[in-house]
Amino acid sequence: MSRIDRRFAALKMAGRTGLIPFVTAGDPSPEHMVVLMHALVDAGADIIELGVPFSDPMADGPVIQHASERAIAKGIGLAQVLAWVTAFRERDTDTPIVLMGYLNPVEIHGYVRFASEAAKAGVDGVLLVDCPLEEAAVLQPLRDAGLQQILLAAPTTAPARMAQLCGSAEGFLYYVSFAGITGAAQLNTADIAARVAEIRRQSKAPVAVGFGIRDATSARAIAEFADAVVIGSALVDRLDGATSAEDITARTHAFLAPIRAALDVH
C-alpha cells in the first residue's frame, strides 16, 4: 500500500476530508522551503502538492505563473526540488508528496533517472498536467519505481473517457472543478457534486477537487462530497513576499487553520 493510499484509508477511517495544499517549489523562499513543507503539515495538510516550476505553465493562472517565474529566476529546477523532498523526509516519513508540473522538465531530466531519484527522495506521486492518459506510456519507468500517476478529470471529460480515467486512476483522481486555469473562481457546487458522484459510481479511487477553492467556505462546500480539497493559488498568493521562516510559518498557519477547522466540522 502506497503512502497516498494509506493516507486516504486513514482519512476515511477518521471520517475526515483531506486537505491538499499546493505550493510552488522555491517560492516564496528557497532557503525556507523545507520549513514551509513542515509548516503545511503542522497546519493540517494531509498531502503536499509541490509544484515544479516551468517556464510555460499553460494551465496556470497569473498567481502560479508568477510564482514559477520567481522560482526559475532563482535557478530552481527538478534536482533542487528533489533535494528538498529528501530533506523533508528526514523528519516526516508519513505525509505523501505529489510533484505537480509539466512534462518537459521530467523529459529533459530523463524518465528513468527521474523515476529512481524521485522514488529515492521520497516522492509518492506525480501529476503532470500536460501528460494525459494517451501520452502516459513514457511514464512507465515512474510506475516501475512505484510513483503513482495522479490523473485529472475535467468538466469537459466525456462519459467514455471518464470511464477510462476511472479505470486507470491510482492514488486519487483529481477533479478539476471548472473549465479554466488555476486561481480563477467560478465554483458551481451542484455541478461539481454531480460529476464527483459520476466518478464514484465508476471508481474506488478517492476524489480530490481542485481549482477555485480559496477559503474555508469554499473548502467546506466541496468537502460535502469530495475526499479531499486542493488549495493552490490562494495559498501561493498569501505566501508571496514572505522572507523569514517565522513569517512563512505564521502565514501558512493563518491561512490553513480556518480551512482545516472548516473541513473538520461535522
Binding site: D56, M58, N104, I108, D130, P132, V176, A179
Partner: protein
C-alpha cells in the same frame, strides 16, 4: 535514405509523426481537441467544404500565386536559377491567410462564434482578424508585449479589422507566451471558442490541419514547375520558425526523393552566441505547447528565450513534422543569421524590386547560399512567404534611419 518512407502517411491517428507530435495538453482540452479532430477529418473529405475553400482561396486570397524567376538576383549570386514562390502576393501579404481561411471555415461549420489566435510578427493575427471580419466572428488576438512594440503597424491593422489585441506580459513576452495565453483563454471558453493556431505546432490535429491548409503552396508550385520548366526543382528552401510556410512548400515534394529540402532557421546573432531561435539546428527533443518536438531549453527543462530580428521566427519550438523530417534525414535545417537575412532583404529589394518580410529574407539568404554552389541550369525554389512592409520600421531603426 535507406528505405522508402511514404511521407503522406503521417501523422498517425494519434497525431504522431514518428516520435513527435501527439496531444500533450491538460485534460480539459482533450474533449474539444477530440471534437475538432472529428470535425476536421470529416470536413477534409467533404466535397462541399473543399469547394468552398477552393473558391475562397481563388477569389478572396488571390491564388494561385506565381513562381517567379528572380533573374537579376540569380545573376548577382552566380550559379543556379532562383525561383520565388510569391506567397507575399496573397491577400494580407503572407502565406498565413491560407490557413486562417481554412480554419475559419472549420469554425463556421462547427458553429463557434468566437475565434482566438496568437501572433508573433502579427501576420497570423492580421490573417485571423481578416477572416473573422469577413465571416462576422468575434476575434481576440494574443500578442507578446515585446512583439506589440516591434510590430506596431500590424497591431493597428488588426484593430482596424475589428479584433481585440491582448498584450501578453508573462514570460518572455513574445510568441511562446502569446500561445500559452491563447491556450488559457481556450481552456476557459471552450464551449463557444475556436482557437486558430497559426503554425504547424500545438496538439493534434493542429500540425495536420495547418499543414493541409498550407500544402496548397507546394501543390501549386509542383504543378507550376512541371508546366513551366518541365521538371521539378533541385532544391527547395523556406524559413522555419514554427514551420508552416516551410511545410506548406515542402509537403507536396516529400515523396520526390531527388528534390533536396533545406529549412532556414533563425540563427540570430549566431548559433554559438546563444542568441538565436534555431530549435532544430541547436535544440533537443522535448515537450512544448501540446506536442513533442525539438525545443530550445536549459538542463532544467525551462524553455529558453530566443532571439531573431524577425518576430515570426522568434519561437523556441518547431512543428513536429519538421522534427520528424530532420530525424528521417529527409530535410536539412540550417541557421541563417540576422545579418545574412538583412543583406538578402536589401539585395532582393535592389535587384528585383521586392521587399520581403524579414522571415522570408532568411529563406532568400539560404537560397543564395545554395544557388552559389550549383550549376547554372540548376533550380532553387524559395518560398517568399510574406512581404516586408510590416518590417520597414524595424529595418530603419536597426540601420539608424529615422522615418
Amino acid at each position: 535514405m535507406n528505405k522508402i518512407v511514404d511521407f503522406n502517411a503521417y501523422p498517425d491517428a494519434q497525431g504522431r509523426f514518428g516520435n513527435y507530435g501527439g496531444s500533450y495538453v491538460a485534460e480539459t482540452l482533450m474533449a474539444p481537441l477530440a471534437e475538432l479532430t472529428e470535425a476536421y477529418l470529416r470536413l477534409r473529405e467533404d466535397p462541399e467544404f473543399i469547394a468552398e475553400l477552393d473558391h475562397d482561396l481563388k477569389h478572396y486570397v488571390g491564388r494561385p500565386s506565381p513562381i517567379y524567376h528572380a533573374e537579376r538576383l540569380s545573376k548577382h549570386v552566380g550559379g543556379a536559377r532562383i525561383l520565388l514562390k510569391r506567397e507575399d502576393l496573397n491577400h494580407t501579404g503572407a502565406h498565413k491567410i491560407n490557413n486562417t481561411v481554412g480554419q475559419a471555415l472549420v469554425a463556421k461549420r462547427m458553429g463557434k462564434p468566437r475565434i482566438i489566435a496568437e501572433t508573433g510578427a502579427g501576420q497570423h493575427g492580421v490573417a485571423s482578424a481578416t477572416v473573422a471580419a469577413r465571416l462576422g466572428l468575434k476575434c481576440v488576438v494574443y500578442m507578446g508585449a515585446v512583439d506589440i512594440e516591434r510590430q506596431k503597424i500590424n497591431v493597428y491593422r488588426m484593430k482596424l479589422l475589428g479584433a481585440d489585441v491582448v498584450p501578453v506580459t508573462s514570460g518572455s513576452k513574445t510568441l511562446k507566451d502569446a500561445l500559452n495565453e491563447a491556450m488559457r483563454d481556450w481552456v476557459t471558453n471552450v464551449a463557444d471558442t475556436f482557437y486558430i493556431i497559426g503554425t504547424v505546432a500545438g496538439p493534434h490535429p493542429y500540425p495536420l490541419m495547418v499543414r493541409d491548409f498550407n500544402a496548397i503552396v507546394g501543390r501549386e508550385a509542383r504543378a507550376q514547375m512541371l508546366e513551366q520548366y518541365g521538371r521539378l526543382p533541385d532544391v527547395l528552401t523556406a524559413c522555419v520558425g514554427g514551420g508552416s510556410n516551410a511545410i506548406g512548400l515542402f509537403h507536396a515534394f516529400l515523396n520526390d526523393a531527388d528534390v533536396r529540402i533545406v529549412g532556414a532557421e533563425a540563427a540570430g546573432e549566431g548559433i554559438a552566441t546563444g542568441h538565436h531561435a534555431a530549435s532544430l539546428a541547436a535544440g533537443r527533443p522535448g515537450v512544448l505547447h501540446g506536442n513533442r518536438t525539438y525545443v530550445l531549453c536549459d538542463d532544467n527543462g525551462q524553455i529558453t528565450e530566443t532571439h531573431s530580428v524577425s518576430a515570426g521566427l522568434d519561437y523556441p519550438g518547431v512543428g513536429p513534422e519538421h522534427a520528424f523530417l530532420k530525424d528521417a534525414n529527409r530535410a536539412e535545417y540550417v541557421g541563417v543569421t540576422d545579418d545574412e537575412a538583412l543583406k538578402a532583404f536589401h539585395l532582393l529589394a535592389r535587384t528585383e524590386g521586392i521587399l520581403a518580410a524579414l522571415e522570408s529574407s532568411h529563406a532568400v539568404a539560404q537560397a543564395m547560399k545554395l544557388a552559389r554552389d550549383m550549376p547554372k541550369d540548376g533550380i532553387v525554389l524559395c518560398n517568399l512567404s510574406g512581404r516586408g512592409d510590416k518590417d520597414v520600421h524595424t529595418i530603419a531603426a536597426r540601420e539608424g534611419v529615422d522615418v
